[in-house]
């Protein structure tokens, strides 16, 4: 473990400072929470044009070996064996209780005829040391290469494809949730079509030495603005996406978290992952509690930790993420409630500064997602 008193920096640290970022410690890194325009404008710019995010603090690794796809399925409920070359999947590392140790993206790099599978993993910054230790300990027969200093940039928003097309024409037609190896601006990169904002967008993984010049090339386009972690959080909340350590933890299962869509029928029925029996029982009976979207009445944001009560005032859960939606110009929240209160339209009350704020369960996402759909 690095010295906990010394913040690590990403390859873009000097660029952040040059752009006037307000820097804060996050997951052991010195990271930009916002730039000169502030969170609200950065959020709206990403929804209207394109935002560039430095997510180099996240963990990137290559996992390779014979049957690596099948073997990694022993740790996650996602269907990895059906990944086609270049395809990526969202899944979760689970503990023996089906609790979520972390959520991650798994991309199959290897071609069909390769003797060994090669996978590219992206995990959360705060969990990367634990995740990689867990994978190494559980799958000693595979080779995990942690790409410690590699940069990761995200370009998100309705103009992202047009901006990327200016650097690499082939990228603009990539299907959602796929990755390619490309030359962008003369630099070899892994580019994937995915993101954490609900918008169309790309994540670009590249060597640290090329990161600043590449970011500057993107920022030279007037449609692109640098966006900090503050807007990254409000964008993902509007998109109804989970933040590990908050909306999903080692104490919540993927079904409780309403992530059942990420588990195929083959994996749910066949099991073979930690906590499979628990998840199968929850699948058969329905989980006792569920993550839901919540709209509080009025304008006051209701934050993480607020108690959720039913209409009669009985405590039924708590808020796991809450804030203000710049797109809706209203407060939004996510949290866990008992199954009886999880249906859209259920009336709730949220504890806020000694009072109870009326609220309603709403469908997620709060703001419609605009992921790229390939012309069929």
């Amino acid at each position: 473990m690095p010295d906990s008193n010394v913040l690590q920096t990403t390859p873009l640290n000097a660029l952040h400072l040059r752009l006037g970022a307000r820097m804060v410690p996050f997951a052991g890194y010195d990271m930009p929470v916002h730039y000169r325009d502030g969170i609200l404008k950065e959020h709206l710019h990403t929804r209207a044009a394109a935002g560039l995010f430095d997510v180099s603090h996240m963990g990137q690794a290559l996992l390779s070996g014979r049957h690596a796809l099948a073997r990694l399925e022993a740790l996650v409920p996602g269907d990895l064996q059906r990944l086609k070359p270049g395809q990526m999947r969202y899944t979760q590392l689970l503990n023996a209780n089906a609790g979520i140790l972390d959520d991650l993206m798994v991309t199959r790099l290897s071609a069909a005829d390769e003797p060994e599978d090669r996978l590219f993993l992206v995990v959360n910054a705060a969990n990367k040391a634990a995740d990689f230790a867990h994978i190494t300990a559980q799958l000693p027969e595979l080779d995990l290469l942690v790409m410690r200093d590699r940069a990761l940039l995200a370009l998100q928003g309705p103009a992202a494809a047009e901006v990327i097309a200016g650097l690499c024409a082939a990228s603009a037609s990539m299907p959602f949730m796929t990755m390619r190896r490309e030359m962008l601006d003369g630099v070899p990169v892994y580019i994937s079509r995915c993101g954490y904002t609900g918008e169309d967008g790309f994540e670009i993984s590249l060597v640290p030495g090329a990161a600043t010049a590449f970011a500057e090339a993107l920022l030279a386009n007037p449609k692109v603005a640098a966006i900090g972690l503050g807007a990254r959080d409000s964008l993902r909340l509007e998109a109804g996406l989970c933040l590990h350590g908050h909306d999903i933890t080692a104490q919540t299962t993927p079904l409780e978290a309403n992530l059942g869509w990420s588990i195929s029928r083959r994996r749910m029925e066949g099991g073979g992952f930690p906590g499979d029996a628990i998840l199968q029982a929850q699948h058969a009976q329905g989980p006792q509690r569920l993550r839901v979207g919540i709209r509080p009445e009025g304008r006051a944001p209701v934050r993480e930790g607020a108690i959720i009560a039913d209409g009669a005032g009985r405590e039924i859960g708590s808020v796991t993420s809450g804030g203000f939606s710049p797109t809706l110009n209203a407060p939004i929240a996510m949290g866990y409630v008992t199954r009886a209160h999880a249906a859209t339209g259920s009336r709730l009350q949220l504890a806020l500064r000694g009072q109870m704020v009326p609220a309603e369960v709403v469908a997620l996402p709060f703001v419609p997602t605009r992921y790229f759909r390939s012309p069929s």
Binding site: V33, H34, G38, I39, L40, K41, H43, G230, S234, R299, A300, P301, R303, G323, F324, P326, P331, R353
Partner: protein, 125 residues
Amino acid sequence: MTTVYFTKDHEYISVDGDIGTIGITDHAQQALGDVVFVELPKTGTKVARGKEAAVVESVKAASDVYAAASGEVVAVNDALEGAPGTINEDAEGRGWFFKVKIADKAELAGLMDAAAYEAFLKTLD
């Protein structure tokens, strides 16, 4: 004749006679970022110096606003509820929170003047 005083919690009180207009400083609004919500006291309530009197929330976080002087609230800036961004635009002007009838002007002696507040801000970096 108006005199402005400042607290270490980054509120100001602009005093004219026995009426004090209270809000948060320009430094405070910059640190908070985009304000999206305010909760103001009701006219007629009594506030006590150093106690929570209002709430201001930005996209980042919620903060309490403390009364810079004790007294009765005689006016509140209702316009902020529909336009909380006014606090970012003009914190020490149109972004005022509420006015109190100051109970004891001797309390003001413990506050900073503009020069002292400027010097205080320099110690924070």
